[in-house]
């Protein structure tokens, strides 16, 4: 099949410090196709596309658009060549309206005066044509994540692009929103536009792509047409080995002894509404209690209260026999709680500190890392070296700013910090969100290992698959209440029942 090449990237090379992100990559986009760039985090997918979009400058290599050699030095150049990109982190101005965001930076047909009427007409055409429903006058901060993504796509379309790059577009979407997005992408394809779909999710890639290019460690490890491959082969090309799903064995601890006891816990959310309505449950030694539920049903507040960053209005939390509710986060950590927070960038790490400091930041003030008021950096660095080796944290050195690590490695930093203290109890919230297969596997393995060694784990996750894979018991939360707890040593999980509980349509008596 002879197809028209829209974009051709030849021998693209890009290094950051001494890390080779793209090692002589060749990549082609044909007219009217959906091509996926598949790879783990840090494989170089985003780097390659940011070079195409003019955000990074390549060290060497050539780019051809419609057969002509081009130099792309800024996003402006890329847009002029008909290339648009929707980033993983949106580039929208929160306080401006959708319409204002769409026309931002474009010359106005009325000179220095903005022409909202003209813009609105064009915007409405785009909304109609592609089914990208969004209110032009809403401010960005009022929109859901899915809607924001639509605004980003509209922005690109408004600039008449022919090639649309989407960086991990489904990471933030609900399953229904993913379907909508795919529908839109198919319309683009029908119109002869090309799409580059960056992802590490195999099922999605298999669903939407015509062609798949797999990257690993900065090199292309394979290229397949969808018809001639399957998820298993793609996983192998992506990870470099066969992928085995981590399996939970039955718990080795036979006698149940409660470790963390939550009693009649009530707490408010940030808007001062009751988010936890007097819940009681316990987590036993040597078990993983999975919390299933749609986000925003009190999971976040539960995590905050247990970690001591949110004060409950009433109720108690006991760890062994110590009351921990009302104690400071630091005391709680001291008492043996390991914390893998949902928001790892904000409350898990201080991204601008060097890596070795983040590895000890929850306990740098006790020996052997401090003597009295003095910090012993020698010991800290030795300890950090040991951890990055033990947990296979990929970094140029322990001295780099933590910010420079990839998402999966950032999570490993937190995991290493927590597990190095052999906590009695671990609270892990969305521990694998946004991570690739390799990192996910690794984190699951480690959590199971901690549980097998006798720690109690509270696993809060929106990923039902993850909850089902790891948990000994499953607790469902809905609107700040517990809808039921399923004990898997006594019964099999009925997925349909679980779904009903998550939607608040069914409640079990909690003993």
């Amino acid at each position: 099949m002879e197809k028209e090449k829209i974009i051709e990237m030849r021998n693209i090379r890009k290094t950051f410090l001494n890390n080779v992100a793209n090692n002589n990559i060749n990549f082609v986009v044909y007219k009217g196709e959906i091509v996926s760039l598949l790879g783990e985090n840090g494989a170089g997918k985003t780097t390659l596309m940011k070079i195409l979009y003019g955000m990074y400058t390549k060290d060497s290599g050539e780019i051809f658009v419609n057969g002509r050699k081009v130099e792309i030095n800024s996003p402006k150049d890329a847009i002029a060549l008909g290339i648009g990109m929707v980033h993983q982190h949106f580039t929208l101005v929160r306080t401006l309206t959708v319409l204002e965001n769409v026309i931002l930076g474009l010359p106005s047909p009325k000179g220095i005066n903005l022409d909202f009427d003209y813009a609105r007409k064009r915007l409405e055409e785009i909304i109609q044509r592609y089914g990208l429903v969004v209110n032009p006058d809403a401010k960005i901060w009022q929109l859901s994540v899915g809607e924001r993504q639509r605004v980003e796509i509209i922005k690109a379309l408004y600039r008449n692009i022919n090639v649309l790059i989407l960086d991990e577009p489904t990471a933030v979407l609900t399953p229904q929103e993913v379907e909508e997005l795919f529908k839109t992408l198919r319309i683009f394809k029908k119109e002869g536009k090309s799409i580059v779909f960056i992802s590490h999710k195999l099922e999605e890639v298999m669903e939407i792509s015509d062609r798949i290019v797999i990257l690993r460690n900065g090199v292309v490890t394979g290229e397949r047409r969808k018809e001639e491959t399957n998820a298993r082969e793609l996983a192998r090309l992506m990870v470099g080995r066969e992928v085995i799903e981590v399996l939970r064995e039955k718990t080795s601890v036979t006698k149940r002894s409660p470790l963390l006891k939550v009693k009649e816990l009530k707490a408010l959310n940030d808007k001062n509404l009751v988010a936890l309505k007097g819940i009681s449950f316990s987590v036993n030694k040597g078990e993983i209690l999975g919390v299933a539920g749609v986000a925003g049903n009190g999971q976040r507040e539960l995590e905050d209260v247990i970690c001591g960053v949110r004060k409950p209005i009433s109720g108690h939390i006991f760890l062994d026999n110590d009351e921990i509710s009302g104690k400071s986060p630091k005391e709680i950590i001291r008492l043996g709680v390991g914390r893998i927070p949902e928001d790892r960038m904000e409350s898990g790490l201080i991204l601008d500190l060097p890596l070795y400091e983040n590895l000890v930041i929850e306990f740098y003030d006790k020996p052997p890392f401090s003597k009295g008021m003095l910090i012993d950096y020698k010991n800290i660095k030795r300890f950090a070296q040991k951890l990055i080796k033990e947990y296979r944290i990929k970094t140029a050195s322990i001295d780099v700013k933590t910010r420079t690590l990839s998402g999966g490695n950032l999570q490993k930093v937190i995991l290493a910090r927590v597990l190095s203290q052999s906590p009695k109890f671990i609270i892990a919230s969305q521990p694998t969100r946004g991570l690739d297969v390799g990192a996910m596997e690794y984190i699951h393995e480690k959590l199971l290992e901690a549980r097998n060694n006798g720690a109690g784990v509270l696993l809060i996750s929106e990923d039902l698959h993850e909850v089902l894979n790891l948990s000994d018991r499953i607790m469902v939360m809905y609107e700040g209440e517990i809808m039921g707890i399923i004990d898997r040593s006594k019964e099999k999980v009925d997925i349909e029942e679980l779904g009903l509980m998550m939607a608040g349509a069914k409640r079990r008596k909690v003993s």
Partner: protein, 312 residues
């Protein structure tokens, strides 16, 4: 001043003084609004106003031309605005340190220049300052006329600047870019906006208006240069920007409110209430603090305020 407290003359006089006292605040605060909307806190404003006051005075003193004084004061502010931009935008230095540095430098330079040009006579030299400009017909309207239409030319300019600033910020491509740059410079840059140019422009506007505002003191309100002539009005302007939530029309109301406190202080000094006069002079600053306590906690600051922008 033995005017009775409840007479019409008292209130007309008070309101006219309110508008007059509000003038430098309106102009300086509008300028500061541009700076902060672009993401730069211009703490150099106080110094720019002091230097503007001096530059305006000296120019007029030597040339006898009031409007040339106004022009030179504005230009001096533009020069300092440009310097602020160079320090904070190009060199990405701390906005706090750069701004305070400019205030210290500009005020010191103003005092030095004054001494060098005039010396230190016992009676400060004066100029023939602006007199009020009665707007034909309108000034004859009872009550409203003397309050609004018998003011200095710079006051009219200040009031007209309010809608002009609103138009620039909300209706032009420059304004949209300005708002985007102050909220999310990365996004603005990704959309092809030159973040540096927008911030330079905003600071040049801020500096020019600060200089103009300073000239009001020496060329209209008074007819001489005194060391404490600006008396912290620049800092008040910074509080007013927050009070006004970075919206030009609200700047007008905020400035009038503060102008009224200034005016009332002046008037109460003449009444029978026996309080040391310094207390009245303190009023605007006390109110500044109170207003900040009440409002600043819920203020919606431009997200990129104080953050230098560097391209990766």
């Amino acid at each position: 001043m033995n005017t009775g407290f409840w007479t019409l003359t008292f209130w007309v006089g008070f309101l006219a003084a309110t508008v007059r006292m509000a003038t430098p605040l309106i102009i300086a605060t509008l300028g500061e609004t541009f700076a902060e909307r672009s993401g730069v806190l211009n703490l150099g404003i106080e110094g720019m106003m002091i230097f503007g006051a001096l530059a305006g005075f000296l120019t007029t003193y030597f040339t006898k031309s009031l409007w040339l004084g106004v022009l030179v004061a504005t230009l001096s502010g533009i020069a300092f605005g440009w310097l602020m931009a160079f320090l904070t935008v190009t060199l990405t230095l701390s906005q706090h340190v750069s701004g305070l540095g400019i205030t210290i430098f500009a005020s010191g330079l103003a005092y030095y220049t004054y001494r060098a040009a005039i010396g230190s006579p016992t009676v400060p030299p004066t100029i023939k300052a602006f007199s009020t400009l009665k707007i034909p017909l309108l000034w004859k309207i009872p009550i409203i006329g003397p309050i609004l239409f018998d003011q200095y030319a710079i006051t009219y300019i200040g009031i007209l600047l309010v809608p002009l600033a609103g138009y620039l910020i909300y209706k032009t491509t420059f304004g949209l870019s300005l708002r985007a740059v102050g909220e999310n410079p990365e996004a603005a840059d990704a959309m092809g906006i030159n973040v540096y140019r927008i911030r330079y422009t905003a600071l040049i506007i801020a500096g020019g208006l600060a200089g103009l505002s300073g000239a009001f003191f020496t060329l209209a309100e008074f007819n001489m240069f005194l060391y404490d002539i600006v008396a912290g009005r620049g800092w008040v302007a910074i509080a007013l920007v927050i009070f006004a939530n970075w919206i030009p029309s609200k700047v007008l109301w905020g400035a009038l409110f503060f102008g009224s406190i200034d005016a009332i202080g002046l008037r109460l000094q003449g009444t029978a209430i026996k309080v040391p006069f310094q207390v009245y002079l303190m009023l605007p600053y006390i109110f500044t603090i109170i207003v900040l306590i009440l409002i600043a906690r819920n203020a919606s600051y431009p997200s990129a305020l104080l953050k230098p922008y560097r391209r990766e």
